[in-house]
Amino acid sequence: MAGSSSFPLTSPALSPLINAVGRVVLGKEQQVRLAFSCLLAGGHLLIEDRPGMGKSTLAEALARVFSLGFKRVSFTSDLLPADLTGINVFNTTEATFRFQPGPLFTQVLLADEINRASPRTQSALLEAMAAGRVSLDGISHDLPEPFFVIATQNSLDQVGTSPLPEAQLDRFLMRVSLGFPDRASEEELLRGSFSPAAATPPLLDGKSLKQLHHQCAAQHCSDELINYVLDLVAASRQGQGGLSPRASQALLAAARAWAMLSGRDYVIVEDVQSVLPAVVEHRLDAGRPAGSETPLSTKLLERVNALR
């Protein structure tokens, strides 16, 4: 499967960015690369883990390194959709409604503890994620370009939460779990040899990001590779459920980004295999990790002949 330990090649243009984020989130190169792939593929990212694993730190570092404007919203149960999207405030002196944009109008929205908000608020956010705009009282307001949502979610928290429904989970390109750091990284953490998220230098401007997006979309996918992705989604659809066409698109887009991170201009089977757990796991288990069992994505990989 995906070799998680070694990354022999990194695109020279992108390695400073990865290193910069890697100095903030120690010992999580795989997750950092996944997060990068997600953003390069133009998708929204869901980071899920226990509290205190550095979810928000990663999110903030990502936003800063791309030098994108970002806002952070802590989702709570009493958060209203209007708290996100903004409201039409009635100006009594002019007797007109004036649109007051909410925190959604930013390039990167850090949605902390997204599963704590009410389903209604979540769906307002997800509409913005899907369409890139917000509709209020019949008027639609376009969100800035690019628009990313990096949401975090507490995996232990089950009480008083509203888990994201399947259709809305599908909007997230990837779900990444951070997991415990290894001993060496934690030691560095304790010794304080890490840089805080707020100190992450902006290394890329908006124009370069756009270029990267184009470059990512132009990565070459061979027939064999497309067939592999098709076989994967076909295998997932045997039995109940299965991956949506959006999921297969997402899989290929993420694989393209992963290939670009590896400094290649074509996509190989390993790229797909590397991003597959992050891309499909949350779509297959509908938001509830299977726990100790073999991950569904691993099973899926074993069902498709990858010798091509």
């Binding site: 009493d78 708290d83 409201i87 007797a95 039995g239 459920g241 938001g287 299977a290 002949n305």
Partner: protein, 285 residues
């Protein structure tokens, strides 16, 4: 003979000429006759080439299947009376011409073209009864490459597949009848605006209509929990089918439910795992 794994070889492969093979042989014989009558070398050679190809095809057709290794996959549960997919893992050392797999009683068959490595093939069949069911006898056959011979084997895969009761709409006993939340209303009351109130809760529409500034009062709809039980007065098998259907729809809606059967009780919950546990209980208890 049931087994979890089958390697195709001389012991379990059968081969006979197909109808086309018989026609081919007849044609070769006819050409032989023509060649003798007209003393034509070319026709004679063609007749012999056709005979030689027939013999060669016997080995080639056999080779198409020989050495394949079939293993049961992990079948995912399905409802009875619906098309179920039984996964088979087929391992091949090299690329092979197409072959056909089907369950003997099933109508449709799967045509697969194997490349080197392990390939997963889903075979459909139609289970009629709930519980852990073994699939029918499997037939693997091929006529490749020339269609002159048909080579086949039969196998009973060992791994059973969990079949849930079939889905059928019908009455189900619910201990807490559903209280439908009024999803249309965002808020259910208004109160005067306090100092420091967020603008999001202010009823701006009311302000526009000339009313004083008021704040909306929201209710957080609490989850409705229900325990499902077989309906009284319905045969138990049929009641199971109704329950299966109800569980399916509740899961689709994302609601919480529990299940109480005579021998087993599952406390309310939601999610795929919970649904699967409930349906498995319905199928096997």
């Amino acid at each position: 003979m049931r087994s979890a794994e089958l390697t195709l070889g001389l012991r379990n492969l059968y081969i006979i000429p197909s109808r086309f093979g018989a026609l081919w042989l007849g044609s070769a014989a006819l050409l032989l006759l023509v060649a003798i009558q007209t003393t034509s070398n070319s026709t004679l050679l063609l007749a012999f080439v056709m005979l030689a190809l027939l013999l060669l095809a016997m080995f080639l057709t056999h080779d198409t299947l020989q050495g394949l290794c079939l293993r049961c996959g992990e079948p995912s549960p399905t409802f009875a009376a619906e098309s179920a997919t039984y996964p088979l893992l087929i391992e091949s050392r090299h690329r092979r011409p197409p072959l056909r797999l089907r369950f003997r009683k099933a109508s449709d068959s799967a045509h697969v073209q194997l490349s080197a490595g392990v390939t997963l093939v889903g075979l459909s069949w139609r289970p009629e009864h709930r519980g852990w069911q073994q699939p029918p006898q499997l037939q693997i056959e091929t006529i490749a490459p020339l269609g002159l011979f048909i080579c086949w084997t039969r196998w009973n895969p060992q791994t059973p597949q969990l079949i849930w009761p079939r889905r059928r709409r019908g009455p189900v006993l619910e201990q807490h009848p559903p209280r439908w939340r009024d999803g249309l209303d965002e808020w259910n009351d208004l109160r005067p605006v306090r100092e420091g109130e967020r603008p999001a809760v202010v009823d701006w529409a009311g302000v526009a209509k000339g009313r004083p500034l008021q704040a909306k009062v929201f209710t957080v709809p609490d989850d409705v929990e229900r325990m499902l039980k077989p309906a009284a007065g319905v045969p138990i098998e049929q009641a199971r089918e109704h329950l299966a259907d109800r569980i399916w729809t509740l899961q689709q809606r994302g609601e919480r439910y529990g299940l109480r059967l005579q021998s087993k009780t599952l406390s309310p919950g939601r999610g795929l795992q919970h649904r699967n546990a409930c349906l498995e209980a319905l199928a096997t208890e």
